[in-house]
Symmetry: C2
Subunit: 335 residues, 2 copies
């Protein structure tokens, strides 16, 4: 039925092998999707390298969680979606069997969401990971209120940009960080009121200035590492800091004194908390669809590759040059 990407060995982007393969039989509850576009995520580069903290891949494995395409067939017990429907996948499955890089994939029906009418395929493949990830800290757990100050570190990542947009629509004031002065404009356009260029500027000092000494109320941070000390220093009393990744490989000392003094909350978080819990997942999907359809959430697409450029796409993913989402389209792609 077409080509898929498989990983036979952990390592560099060149380990992503494009192979021709037929889907094996659909199991109950699954759907077969003819893929049109695939959203890339940093955690997929981690999985490929073998340093993804959530999962060790057993090889060979498929890879990828986020795609848009047309349902080709539905397994036993699947009422929705029906064949012919255009859907996106949400990350709520094991990539071993359900990885989506390729011209087809098999995923659980519960991990699909209809594509809103009029939404371009490229964008439909780029919304779920970022907004679902932002939904937990900002809405489900963090309950950001209008007027609060939200700090988004690594703001030019797709999750970062999605979080900036979502925090803004909740009425928050957003401070975003980036290591690249060249990405400042993208962050401001996404809705950040202030951008701090880390490496050039002192994070805690700048946040103090911006908030008149008060600090931020809530942070989303995928970096951790020694940066944690600066976050704790820049936090307001009883601020919540959501840690959702480990981009820094350096061990982080626990900043006990400011955490005690200010009653800070440090919360580890992965989007699995949302996508694997039916009630939370439904709330998140409803919220995101509503705001995507109204145009208040709109993914920033950095660059689109073709499926046969998947190795190059991963090289670019790891380059850190992008601001926003990298999408890969198949030959089945259409507007």
């Amino acid at each position: 039925m077409g080509r898929i990407v498989r990983l036979h060995r952990l390592g560099g982007p060149e380990e992503l092998r494009l192979e021709t393969a037929e889907p094996d039989g659909l199991r109950a509850g699954e759907v077969l999707i003819r893929v049109q576009a695939i959203g890339l995520n940093n955690s997929e580069a981690q999985l490929r390298r073998g340093d993804y903290p959530m999962l060790k891949a057993s090889l060979p494995t498929r890879i990828g969680r986020e795609c848009t395409g047309i349902v080709e067939a539905a397994g036993e017990g699947v009422a929705m979606p029906r064949p012919g429907a255009r859907v996106s996948t949400i990350p709520a499955f094991d990539v071993q069997r359900h990885g989506v890089y390729g011209e087809w994939c098999i995923v659980p029906a519960v991990a699909t969401v209809p594509v809103p009418a009029g939404l371009p395929v490229i964008e439909a493949a780029a919304i779920w990971q970022q907004y679902l990830t932002a939904f937990g800290p900002l809405v489900e757990h963090g309950r950001v209120a209008a007027g609060e100050t939200v700090l988004v570190t690594a703001g030019a990542s797709s999750v970062g940009l999605g979080a900036i947009q979502m925090a803004r629509l909740l009425g928050a004031r957003v401070i975003a960080t980036t290591r690249s002065p060249g990405k400042r404009e993208t962050l401001l356009r996404a809705g950040a009121e202030q951008v701090v260029v880390t490496g050039e500027e002192d994070l805690a000092g700048r946040i103090g200035e911006i908030t008149a000494g008060r600090g931020f109320d809530l942070a989303l941070d995928p970096v951790a590492g020694p940066n944690l000390a600066a976050l704790a220093e820049a936090a307001a009393t009883e601020a919540r800091i959501f840690l959702y990744g480990q981009l820094s490989a350096d061990p982080a000392p626990f900043p006990l004194i400011p955490v005690l003094r200010k009653g800070l909350t440090l919360r580890g978080y992965t989007l699995w908390e949302i996508t694997l819990n039916a009630a939370r997942r439904e709330r998140a999907i409803r919220f995101i669809l509503e705001h995507v359809e109204a145009g208040r959430l709109r993914p920033v697409i950095d660059r689109v590759f073709r499926l046969d450029e998947i190795v190059e796409a991963h090289r670019y993913l790891e380059s850190g040059r992008q601001a926003g989402k990298i999408v890969v389209r198949t030959d089945g792609w259409s507007e």
Copy 2:
């Protein structure tokens, strides 16, 4: 009017000086109390040594936050309590002016609570710090539900014993830790279902056994330090860990991977969050008074010293031999 304890220099217990002094004038909102009994707290030994993380004392200073006595005079604007009333103080003030070690103290009227009828003076001086501290993690922030498993480390401290009692009355199952096998009985009597002797037993392994691999739902921990890794390992998915002290002087590495994987919350906490916030303070006082009056919360008193033994009392406080509260009584003491 009598003797008070003052600190002229940071250092050992012998720096606690008993001096004769008259109260200066009452300011608006303050009351003068003739002290009958004083509850000692570990944070006072830290303040005396100069390693209290929340406050550096400016010398000379008074010391102590928790006492019971009779109101002698009330300043301008104080409707309650009236002279003649028996009250306990709650920690909601700066000890510099308001420290309670001595035969008299001056505190803000809002930091006093009437003593329930029939409650012995010694117990009345021993309830507020421990139950107010436990109230935040267990009720106000942590909202412990019946059937949850609560871990109380340093369980034989006064806060530890208070937390065990409070978690039990909320319907939780309690696991307590102690370094001293000899304190096991005290912990079981307070309501712990299981006691883990740290140093002799592997904390994470034992909690795994006790909870059939599930882990604890909420922990109260005044230790931090390297122990944090064992706590993260022993935690259930989405568990909350409240850190309310730094008994360990060793730096703690931040246990990022289990915190991410399990979506753990690490929350710094001090009782000031409760006592300096009028709404929270009122909720806490109502809750604690109700359960003290009903006999469901009853402080464990380890030993009572006389005021002229204050140095010896602090030596004992730092010895780690006590299980429960150390109280100091003045000559004005009566049943």
